[in-house]
Symmetry: D2
Subunit: 331 residues, 4 copies
């Protein structure tokens, strides 16, 4: 990669592994909020921040950032498949008179009422979702130094997604990098640099501050919508590894993209998902993936306001390493 | 039931079915927002309402209203069981060296990184959840008059929960009826009347207005926590059928309780879940069930403020008749 | 289709629907074993038949007829996906010391022992399987005239697969039509006629009798193995609709192929899966699909014996309309 | 436990752990069938054995040994719950006209046909089932010495249940210990000794030989049927640890009971499931659990024949550590 892509971060051109380890050595926040912390960077959100974030609501518009969870989603099976909705009581049953027994058993004397019911089977990371801090390990450790073995078949004994269920109401900022570059979508393999981010934010006339959640639009979701191909797991534009120091310095608490994995793929170094290793494992950032940012981007382009109140609370599934999320931007 | 329990609503003591049908005849909103409407009462929320709701955020405190989704939940199996978290990659695998092949296949030259992954199998209504407007039928019809057969094994072709994913950011109001009656919990079978609600709100010095979501605390969830017994599906305190006219007049858009089914059980009439038939099917209200209101109630008692910004967005699971929800009150 | 393809069956060339209805009018066995029958053609298997079937065991060889149930299977998602194996306790957990708590809770003082456990989520018809008599309807009726509404979200109140769990031990006969035609595989769309079947059986010097299960090898499974494409649901060789009278006359009780749906696809008439409508719904035959017949075919070619003891008992999943099956031929 | 319970096995009264380890030291079959073996004791079944087993079929009666797989089963949730049948297409949908679109998409011009479809979610060991050799570990090793880490979230890379799918057709012998002791059911905690087994077999006038599968009836399943309580996982009668040498000497290949775990619970020593550690892990025996032996026992008492052809083939679920099984005895 060329130096100009590295933005304000210092990249010495040394061995790949050294970059990752060097970032970790310099930036790691392990222990910063005590040995028992399971919140990570979200500790940086203050009550005042949340009050200010609510102040972003001026028009009352609510914009969903979440893809539909259904069989038309981007997954291809294997580790992750698309969600399966399984009905367990249907309107057709009702009309066919097949619920009368159930209702009688429930004590109903009258059976003009009927009901539908359903279950869902889904990977927690099949669609728009937050990675929990238990999702990624480096050298056998997860956020704050907990052993990887704290995650077993019983789920995550540490850093499970449930710890964030009351955290994800805060100020969100969109960086529409694709629009800034005047393209429909950045190409797979394009590493988004600090310079890209700063130039985009500056052009959008929005400031990014401590406690904010940053949404980076690459345009890839829109380009692939309904013709997913290898969208989930394949090459993608995304954040450069070399944004890590900037992610630390800005003190943002979450970063989300409209791609499957936040960071650029193929990776810039020989390690797999190196930015996850630095920014999720050692900075404690919330990584948000497959956020649908197109409607939000259009709205922001229309009114010129790129900040909003984000409500994107994950389900408190005890011990899960991710959660689907019904995220909204309120402006 | 005694007249004084009926509050301000007129109850003529006629045949049970007549009450339900009479309410429907007088109150039904079918067609009010056009023949294609799938939002129901949520149409009553204006942009101005949402701006005002954001103004409720003054301290920056976020309080979760959602129970943990796990095997310790209240379900007993059958139609609905507790959520099953199923790990598909674990930290223990990583430490045992069992992920090397996967990472190599993904192109990683270095395998200091590892990951955890999981899936969840859950009834959409196993815990804290919103009922979709496709959940309940009366006389073979759901909200707005759509045929019950619009819900089949393929899910809800009409009134699925996905239509609300960008709706549930609004003003919430807590009516802590249990605390107002100075009891830990109302008893199963206790029908909460209009008088109960109005007296509680008045004592709490909070107003309830069009577009608001009303949270009614009975105390039952707290009493049963961890010793669930028949909490899910059994006798419960809850809204009286005779609150239906009041629910219509107030123009609230959602009503949620800390019980499994919002309305009092056993029911006051021979029909099953009659308030669902009137208020969900014909008023188009969002019914919220198994909301954990104890922490919120304590906070409101402490600061004397019983209104808040509610963020309780359901997952857009296409065609589902309910959704788990990570609800929060922001004050 | 040309007359010579119809074999010994009379095909008058009339309107398509007439053929199907005419077969049904002439051949239907509804009521033959009483109004409460749920076994169908399997009533034709006598105890003596089973004793004789056991006599087919002469070499002691056991040959599996079942495909592996895993993510490498032929399904493409949608209504049916490949099986998902979900581990709930792993050897890696054991080695990481993560089972100690569980074992202590179970009363173990010593923890040298460890265990693995798992769950499976699978369509009952994702791989080698029997269709239950509740699987197919014609004109709103299933086998023996039961209303289609006897199958609801609660499963099949009639004709569920569990009724066959103690039935499927009987004499099996292989008709290796592909080998008889000296091809690796018959082409998609090829309708196997009575003439094909009788010529193959004659060349193989094997007789087919009442109570037998007939296995018809097209070669398609072998040709598509691991490169499934549209194997599940797409064009396929298979039994011609015009074999229906012969299926009735032979008094066989089951027919199974190495294709996804037994009968030829595209269908020969405008009705969908017409042979299912005649032979499954009205003759009560067990249809077996995606049986892997290649190893059996090789064995039969080697020893010249095309009959065997079949053990292919479906799981008694109450109310299911199909079941995976671990089928074996014993020779 | 008293010496007379130990039968012909020598029990020196030493430290508990010593007994288990001593048995293993004396009896382990690891390596006996080569370093790559994944069949275990089933290697002892010869082709001649299978021919002879088929000779047990004299009356043509088929008796199911498998419990229904449904919500009325014995599981209580947690690690294992009862099977969930999930319909994905129903007869009620058909009657309501909800399948027309699907059929049209499949190319049907006529829609007199309809279909039902379903999926199942179940622990592989929720009902009548075989334990795979990958199910149990001792000191971090499974059968034949493979490391426990050969079982991960990806399933069993060694000793998965699929290896037995073509093995389980062999001679079965019932030892109806409950009937021999003239009780409905042995009491929980009762350890079945070698003396019990040999006396029962002798009284039944049946011989047990190498290659046989032994079914031991305690009566507990019948006593608890429909009132399961702690049947799954609780105290149970079962094989004594001290039968281990006899299990080795007899060269039987499988042992199954009508209890949840084959061996007596509580265990006789401080180790958890010590007989599993000796006989499954080191002898390579197939352990069969929750087999319903009541109908078989009645039949055997009637005709005086306690041997039969067993067909109990597990599903080849790749890498699973158990499998539901539709087991039958053919006599």
């Amino acid at each position: 990669m060329s130096p100009q892509r590295i933005g304000t971060s210092v990249h010495d051109g040394g061995a790949d592994a050294d970059v990752v380890q060097d970032y970790i050595d310099r930036l790691s926040r392990w222990g910063r909020w005590g040995p028992d912390d399971q919140l990570g960077a979200l500790n940086l959100v203050t009550a005042q921040h949340r009050v200010a974030a609510a102040g972003e609501v001026r028009s009352g518009r609510v914009i969903s950032l979440t893809m539909a969870y259904d069989q038309a989603g981007p997954q291809q099976g294997g580790l992750r498949a698309n969600p399966v909705l399984l009905t367990t009581a249907t309107g057709t049953d009702v009309v066919a008179g097949r619920q009368v027994g159930t209702l009688r058993a429930l004590g109903a004397a009258d059976t003009r009422m009927g009901f539908a019911d359903d279950s869902v089977f889904m990977p927690t990371q099949c669609g728009t979702q937050w990675d929990a801090l238990a999702h990624i390990f480096r050298d056998g450790r997860m956020w704050n130094g907990y052993a990887a073995t704290e995650h077993s078949s019983r789920g995550a004994a540490r850093n499970g997604i449930q710890h964030w269920t009351d955290q994800m109401v805060l100020r969100g900022v969109l960086a529409d990098v694709a629009r800034h570059h005047q393209v429909d979508a950045l190409e797979p393999g394009y590493p988004i640099t600090v310079q890209d981010l700063e130039a985009t934010l500056a052009a959008q006339k929005v400031t990014l501050g401590a406690g904010d959640a940053l949404f980076v639009r690459t345009g890839q979701l829109g380009r692939r919508r309904g013709r997913w191909g290898d969208y989930a797991g394949g090459p993608a534009p995304g954040l450069s590894l070399y944004t890590a120091p900037w992610l630390a310095e800005t003190e943002i608490v979450a970063v989300a993209t409209d791609t499957w994995g936040v960071e650029v793929r193929p990776n810039e170094v020989t390690e797999f998902q190196p930015l996850h290793q630095v920014a999720l494992v050692h900075l404690g950032l919330a990584f948000g993936e497959m956020f649908d940012l197109d409607a939000l981007a259009d709205d922001c382009a229309r009114d010129g306001r790129y900040s909003f109140l984000l409500a994107a609370t994950p389900l408190p599934i005890t011990g899960a390493v991710g959660s689907p999320v019904a995220a909204v931007a309120v402006k």
